[in-house]
Symmetry: C2
Subunit: 364 residues, 2 copies
């Protein structure tokens, strides 16, 4: 029987609560005999800082590098607003992405039919919506140097961030996007600001080359990032796959996720390159954040994290069937009218994290 | 009688058509005897490049520097996709902003009541919406150096953009935002990515200082830019004034404008500092772009540009009353059921640019 090492990093805020429901699903997988998933649980983010003064320790990084996959909850919260920049909760997440070389962040923006009315967009604009945002995750303004604040004296400071992209970074993320599009709607929108940014010019050029050389069968559209932000509000269904850089991906994927009305439902995968043995580093996490306002109340929606675990089974553990078995009940419990607070709906029953987990386990 | 010099730069695409309607309004102002507005019309953007090989000439820049205000239509279009980076249409617009030192870009996102149903957001979320986005316009990644593409050999290139902000740049735009908030809902959201960007850290710090020192009576909220993109979709009415940097301002203001359902109606003002004589450089333009797909068809909505002219009268020519007289008919013609194609609505009459201009002139 196949055996996998999975590192659980619940993180901060509602992270612990939603990850708790995943732990129960792991027990279920292990009991079912489909595979053996060995887990280790560790700290990242604000809780790691509180424990030992760093957002992630070298020891935890070592475990992450040795694991077959990582499941992350969420990091951050106002509690750590005053913490030094390089020790803030987000630094742990960014180090994981960078050191695991997880350059491809896949963020589906799907509208669950039962939730179409929960969107702030008109029902007909989001019903059936299914976008995949492919965000570059290890480059751009997140990691470019110099990145500093210089004291100029006289009360003046100068802050600098640097957005850098090299050809190979754009090439590999473009390939991921085109590959995905082939299995979906065969359409890729590449979003940048080539009219203002040199990285946008190179982005446009490289995506065009990759397309021409190897993916001419996929339809490619170039779109300015500001226009993309507009179109995601105006008519999101025009999109299939959107490929974009780290910063635009951050903003546009959040906008798209919120537009679906299903934010608390959306999983994500961050993937590295595939090595000679067919292995690929990966981290899975919900699209939503640590939601400090509802943390500790048992009110968080665990579905995004459960769906992230299903993605982990499918992409990292080659257990597509078991993933299906977990994803089906998600739609079922929604159809039964169960809702957590974030997707509260008239005529439906509002439940907590644990009750939602119970219902999904029962439906399995 | 007061006399003003106004430079008209219609630009590309629908720019010429919408500016045509403003010219008629200028005649009306001059005939009314309220003031004398002397206009000069010149080239910017793709049409300037076609004419003399630059997106804006030094001579035009000189006229702009000497004018009391500038009215701009729109620049750009696929026709100039192949043009060298420093000669592309947008370079003309960026040079105007930079050389006129127009650091404060005011972009109202208002939902005209008659158009609440035209929004892709649910009516109750946008009806009565009135946000003012204050975008920093002469700094950030738009102008920071280095900004280059380096050939690394072996088919590899490296592209670099640099986001730079100094204390004084953040301070002056924060003041504009707080000042405006005092005359409106008394609430400012400052949007940045302090969890990832050093410019975000400084932005946050300086806005906080300015607030504490001089605007403690205004409510200030800090919001991460990605969360802001979400909240603009989820519940846009929670905002009053949003102050943000050049790039986030570009994306967030477009998103907000589209959410109102009134994109073709929205004006904007770009303002410089006020000098000793109380004068302040200014440029006014519609929020929408050059819309190459409908250019030349006489179908464009002239209202955003007409409303921009009203802003020009109010802020640059101290003619608030005349501005009122122009703004009122805009609501009137909408109430009469006239619509251009972009705001087409069942039960309303779809008209072209000229007819819409006629109706507004008639209502004056
Ligand atoms: C927490 C933060 C550093 C992170 C990001 O900006 O990438 C988050 O917003 C995300 O989208 O995963
Ligand atoms: C045309 C372009 C350079 C410009 C910008 O990016 O600022 C436009 O999108 C805008 O928002 O005014």
């Amino acid at each position: 029987m196949a055996s996998y090492k999975l590192l659980l990093l619940p993180g901060d805020g509602i992270g612990t609560e939603v990850m708790g429901e995943v732990s129960r699903l792991i027990d279920w997988v292990n009991d079912s005999g489909a595979a053996t998933i060995e887990t280790e649980t560790d700290l990242v983010g604000g809780c790691a800082y509180d424990d030992h003064g760093e957002a992630i320790s070298d020891a935890t990084m070592k475990t992450a590098l040795e694991a077959d996959a990582v499941m992350l909850g969420a990091v951050g919260g106002p509690k750590w607003d005053g913490v030094a920049y390089d020790k803030r909760p987000e630094a742990g997440l960014l180090r994981l992405r960078k050191d695991l070389e997880l350059f491809a962040n896949l963020r589906p923006a799907i509208c669950y039919p039962a939730l179409a009315d929960a969107s702030s967009l008109k029902r007909e604009l989001v019903d059936g919506l299914d976008i995949m945002i492919v965000r570059e995750l290890t480059g751009g303004v997140y990691f470019g140097e110099p990145k500093e604040i210089i004291d100029l004296g006289g009360g003046q400071k100068r802050a600098v961030d640097t957005q850098v992209y090299e050809t190979y970074e754009i090439e590999r993320i473009a390939r991921v996007a085109f590959d995905l599009a082939r299995k979906r709607g065969n359409l890729v929108h590449s979003a940048e600001k080539r009219n203002v940014m040199k990285t946008g010019v190179l982005w446009n050029e490289v995506v065009t080359q990759v397309h021409k050389a190897d993916f001419a069968d996929v339809k490619l559209e170039h779109i300015l990032a500001d226009n993309c932000a507009m179109q995601l509000v105006r008519a999101p269904k025009q999109f299939d796959v959107i490929v974009t850089d780290n910063l635009f991906g951050d903003v546009l994927s959040d906008e798209a996720a919120m537009a679906t009305g299903s934010l608390g439902m959306l999983p994500s995968a961050s993937l590295g390159a595939t090595d000679d043995k067919g292995m690929r580093r990966a981290m899975y996490e919900p699209v939503h954040g640590s939601a400090p306002d509802i943390a500790g109340k048992g009110a968080a929606n665990p579905i995004a994290t459960i769906a992230s675990f299903a993605m982990c089974l499918r992409y990292s553990f080659d257990m597509g069937e078991t993933a299906d078995r977990i994803e089906r009940p998600i739609a079922d419990v929604l159809d039964q009218g169960l809702r957590t607070g974030d997707i509260r709906q008239a005529g439906c029953k509002t439940v907590g994290t644990r009750e939602m987990g119970d219902a999904i386990l029962k439906a399995l």
